[in-house]
């Protein structure tokens, strides 16, 4: 499937050191999938190809932990509860910075931070994408069945065409990753592909 570079954006979700760097806080949990499928290198190749085409690249970052950052919320959900305990993605710290290989470049969209799971929920992501006339999204990053899938679900409900890339995402466990890309991705996305096929279409 061809991707019109004027209306398609690569949407990179949560490429934080805490998920993807060897010293990252959650690396022990994400490395099994990330190393097995080579998602870091593949995500980087996709970003490079997109930038060569002058395609929009957008970042949807998770809420960075800050003291009292979630103050006022009455019912922290499990992911927020763990963030409050672990300080994962701490603002101004190594874990809350983007992995250098997947860092933003000039001209990229960086949306406001999402505090639950969807990159669209409570953020300016939709407005920024609309501002550039984006109608199609290729969603990559972390985590396969949480923020990636949530962002895809929101995007579908907002009317975007959504492509999911099975090996440019990773999860906390192989079983979650495998089940999500086999069961949910083909139902909730408009298109499901792998990095190799995507890069081929971007280069053609």
């Amino acid at each position: 499937m061809a991707h019109d570079p004027t209306t398609t954006a690569i949407l990179l979700v949560d490429p934080y050191n805490d998920f993807l760097a060897r010293r990252g806080q959650a690396w022990m949990m994400t490395r099994d999938v990330a190393l097995a499928n080579g998602m870091i290198g593949k995500a980087r190749s996709i970003l490079e190809a997109a930038r060569r085409l002058r395609m929009t690249v957008a970042y949807a970052p998770h809420h960075r932990w800050r003291p009292n950052g979630l103050k006022g919320r009455k019912y922290l959900h499990p992911t927020q509860f763990m963030q409050e305990k672990s300080h994962i993605f701490a603002a101004g710290k190594f874990g809350g910075e983007f992995l250098p290989e997947l860092a933003p470049a000039d001209g990229d969209i960086i949306s406001s931070e999402h505090c639950c799971s969807s990159g669209f929920a409570g953020t300016d992501l939709h407005a920024q994408l609309q501002g550039r006339g984006i109608t199609h999204l290729v969603i990559i990053g972390m985590i396969t069945n949480s923020c990636i899938e949530a962002t895809a679900r929101s995007a579908v409900d907002l009317g975007y065409h959504v492509t999911l890339v099975t090996d440019a995402v990773a999860a906390f466990s192989p079983v979650e990753h495998d089940l999500a890309i086999r069961e949910n991705y083909p139902r909730i996305g408009h298109a499901v592909t792998d990095a190799s096929s995507l890069l081929e279409t971007l280069r053609s």
Binding site: K74, P78, T79, S117, E149, R153, D157, L179
Partner: protein, 205 residues
């Protein structure tokens, strides 16, 4: 192995930490029956019985029962396989979109207009009702766990609501999809994934 242990330990720690939330005051609690329609819930299925029991439990405890049906979006330019799956089921019989008889609706229930989004929060009425009634605790159930209940759960968590999912009142496209939801994905967003028996105990049965 290490990965499994870390996931299990994290899950245990979170479940322990969230125990304080699990209270269900009648005036702040609603059971949301998502897409419990004839197209998706046959009258002879075990799921039909479980959902009927959940609806009875809700009414006996004074919880609001909300029916949130879905409609086909035949004219949509960008349909996903999920949308087509829903559309096919809704087009099989004339009354397919009706609320399944096992769950009512009863006169005290709220029935939303049929929506076209996967998430029940795609309908403005959902937020408006939660705000108007001061709801804080939502108990979710429905036959499309991997399609619409999942999307609704994530949106509910975003809204700072306390969310319970009733695992034996769910079904999904495949057994593997149901396993993904109940064992892995939903526990990352719902405060409690439990079964009807446990919910009865927690709500004073």
């Amino acid at each position: 192995m290490l990965n499994s242990l870390l996931n299990a330990a994290t899950g245990w720690y979170v479940r322990r930490g969230l125990r304080a939330y699990h209270h269900y005051p009648a005036d702040k609690t609603a059971v949301v029956l998502i897409d419990v329609q004839r197209a998706f819930v046959g009258s002879g299925q075990p799921l039909s019985g479980s959902l009927a029991e959940l609806a009875r439990l809700a009414r006996s405890r004074g919880f609001l029962v909300i029916h949130a049906p879905i409609a086909a979006d035949a004219g949509a330019p960008l349909q996903t396989p999920a949308h087509r799956q829903i559309e096919r089921a809704l087009s099989r019989q004339a009354d397919a979109s009706d609320i399944a008889p096992a769950v009512g609706p009863s006169p005290s229930d709220v029935v939303f207009p049929a929506r076209k989004t996967l998430s029940v929060f795609g309908l403005p009425e959902t937020d408006a009702l939660i705000e108007a009634r001061g709801l804080e605790h939502l108990i979710l159930a429905g036959p499309l766990a991997d399609l619409t209940v999942d999307s609704s759960l994530r949106d509910a968590a975003q809204r700072d609501l306390h969310i319970t999912v009733v695992s034996d009142c769910l079904a999904a496209s495949t057994p593997a999809a149901l396993e993904l939801e109940v064992r892995h994905t939903m526990p990352r967003y719902a405060h409690l994934v439990t079964d009807l028996g446990d919910l009865k105990r927690r709500t004073g049965g």
